[in-house]
């Protein structure tokens, strides 16, 4: 195992923002103070670009772009540090979740009849060095589906559902089929590699799959989603929820049956059935944070890399929350309650 890589990631994680830092940036009265405070951190290089261009006037879009750029740089650096092919493959596959976000955004723009702006996408090149050129060539939702149907990972589920996506211009089916193929491909990659500590990664991914499945299955009872469609979107390789249980949950006609089928996540199910999904998502995130914090062990373990990736992602999300919170003059207490760091 690449000891050097994990040691480097431990080093990189010291550049992540601390809870103490969040307490200080929460008090920033305006965007200028926000940028000034952030300027003293790892974000200096990306913020410098917008500072020199715009003097002391900052637009929220430029700051958001600087935050996203830092995230892109961190992920690119991380992948470039991976000398071992197996390890690189695992984490490249893990990071495909950002490719899905890009594809979703492209699909959203295409459905709205607009051309997707490339600067609004992550466009990581380690999945596919020609991804940008391919996206540029896509002119309609049909082009996108045609591209995905030839993709080595995303074509499996989509080939049965592509007509539905096209006919109803349905982003939900597209997203869920992409996610299903993403998780199943990731699990098969993890299963094929013999890397020490990989089972810890598997456990976290399985927990993610459980939570995704939990939200998918409740859609039938709470919002009347089509049961057959949901069954096709269920992701294999769950942790605590077996596939028969999940199918039973989809077909549940009573609340008790739903609770029984999804018993390990009953608190989440309860919130979803009460249509309090924000609270349910928070609960899910707490579970995930708990699972991921187990990877944050001081020793040399590959799991630490996954912890670092998620920590970077949550930092990006939190900074975006703070950015818009400060822009719309939310109180520090209000903003703090919404930060993933303090969940």
């Amino acid at each position: 195992m690449s000891t050097h890589l994990v040691v480097r990631v431990h080093g990189l994680s010291t550049r992540l923002l601390t809870p103490q830092f969040y307490h200080s940036i929460l008090l920033a009265p305006d965007l200028k103070s926000f940028v000034d405070t952030l300027f003293r951190t790892d974000y200096r290089d990306t913020l410098e670009k917008i500072k020199s261009e715009r003097m002391n006037v900052y637009s929220s879009d430029a700051i958001r772009e600087a935050i996203r750029e830092k995230f892109r740089m961190r992920m690119n650096l991380l992948i470039s540090l991976m000398m071992e092919k197996d390890v690189a493959e695992v984490f490249i596959d893990y990071l495909r979740r950002y490719e899905i976000l890009d594809l979703l955004k492209v699909a959203g723009y295409l459905i709205s009849g607009r051309k997707p702006p490339l600067n609004d996408l992550f466009l990581f090149t380690f999945f596919d060095s020609n991804f940008k050129q391919k996206v540029e060539k896509i002119r309609s939702l049909k082009d996108l589906i045609d591209y995905l149907l030839t993709h080595k990972i995303y074509s499996r589920t989509l080939k049965d559902l592509s007509s539905l996506v096209l006919e109803f211009q349905n982003l939900f089916i597209l997203e869920m089929s992409l996610k299903k193929d993403y998780y199943e491909h990731l699990m098969s990659t993890l299963g094929a590699k013999e890397i020490p500590g990989i089972n810890r990664l598997e456990r976290v991914i399985k927990a993610e799959i459980d939570l995704e499945n939990c939200f998918i299955t409740t859609a039938s009872y709470v919002y009347g989603y089509d049961a057959n469609l949901l069954e096709q979107l269920l992701i294999r390789h769950p942790l605590k929820l077996s596939l028969p249980n999940l199918k039973q949950a989809i077909r549940s006609t009573t609340l008790i049956a739903l609770f029984n089928a999804l018993y390990p996540y009953r608190n989440i199910v309860e919130l979803v059935t009460k249509k309090k999904e924000t609270e349910a998502k928070k609960e899910a995130l707490k579970i995930l944070k708990r699972e991921i914090s187990r990877l944050k062990i001081p020793g040399i373990d590959i799991g630490y890399i996954l912890y670092y990736i998620r920590a970077c992602e949550w930092e990006k999300t939190d900074l975006e929350t703070l950015l818009y919170g400060i822009l719309y003059r939310a109180s520090p207490e209000e903003m703090k309650a919404q930060l993933i760091t303090f969940l």
């Binding site: 976000l101 959203g108 459905i111 997203e175 919002y223 989603y225 919404q338």
Partner: protein, 207 residues
């Protein structure tokens, strides 16, 4: 003449005028009823409007708070994609309805935003609440327009009723009275003249 009538002091004209006064008074009574009805309808709509506005404001605050929390959890990427993809999913039809002869619009949603099979977790909840509030907003728009139309008509009706009550009917009555007086005067004059002529004839016969 103040009301634009060319008054002729004849019996025929007086009869015609009396008929006209009767019709005007009938019209005044009907318009007055309409005004009362419109006032009560307006009051009812205003109360409803106040209640719906208050309810919508409260719901909006809750949804926005929830949306802010959700936005902070899942980030802007996914929300943006779904926001872009939900165009033109609402189809409404505006039907005319009559309130005391006043045409007010009634909005009917022919096709609502489809939540089923369309949104992922969290966004489906926002979509659900927003589609619920959209119904309330349509109702609010319908009531606000109705209030505006009824208020305009009420103003016009009120002006007409006042004009009838304070100007037209009194003037018509004054003209009728004037003509009546003139006719009575003429009758008296005629009667006196006939008497005088009869006296002259009687006196001549006596001679």
């Amino acid at each position: 003449m103040a009301i634009g009538l060319r008054a002729r002091p004849t019996r025929g004209f007086l009869l015609e005028l009396k008929k006209k006064i009767q019709i005007t008074e009938e019209g005044y009574r009907i318009l007055s009823h309409k005004r009362d009805e419109l006032v009560s309808k307006l009051r009812e709509l205003l109360e409803l409007l106040r209640a719906i506005r208050k309810d919508i404001l409260k719901k909006f605050q809750e949804i926005l708070k929830d949306f802010r929390n959700g936005y902070a959890l899942i980030g802007p990427e996914e929300i943006l994609a779904y926001t872009l993809s939900t165009k033109g999913k609402l189809d409404i039809q505006i039907l005319p309805t009559s309130v005391m002869g006043v045409i007010a619009p009634k909005v009917k949603a022919r096709k609502n935003v489809e939540i089923k099979n369309s949104f992922p977790p969290l966004i489906r909840q926002f979509a659900y609440y927003m589609s619920e509030i959209l119904q309330d907003l349509i109702k609010l728009g319908e009531i606000e327009t109705g209030v505006e139309i009824i208020a305009n008509d009420l103003e016009r009706t009120n002006r007409t009723v006042n004009a009838l009550e304070k100007i037209i009917i009194p003037q018509l009555k004054a003209i009728a009275k004037h003509i009546q007086d003139l006719i009575e005067e003429e009758d008296l004059e005629e009667f006196t003249r006939i008497k005088m002529v009869r006296n002259i004839i009687v006196r001549r016969r006596e001679k």
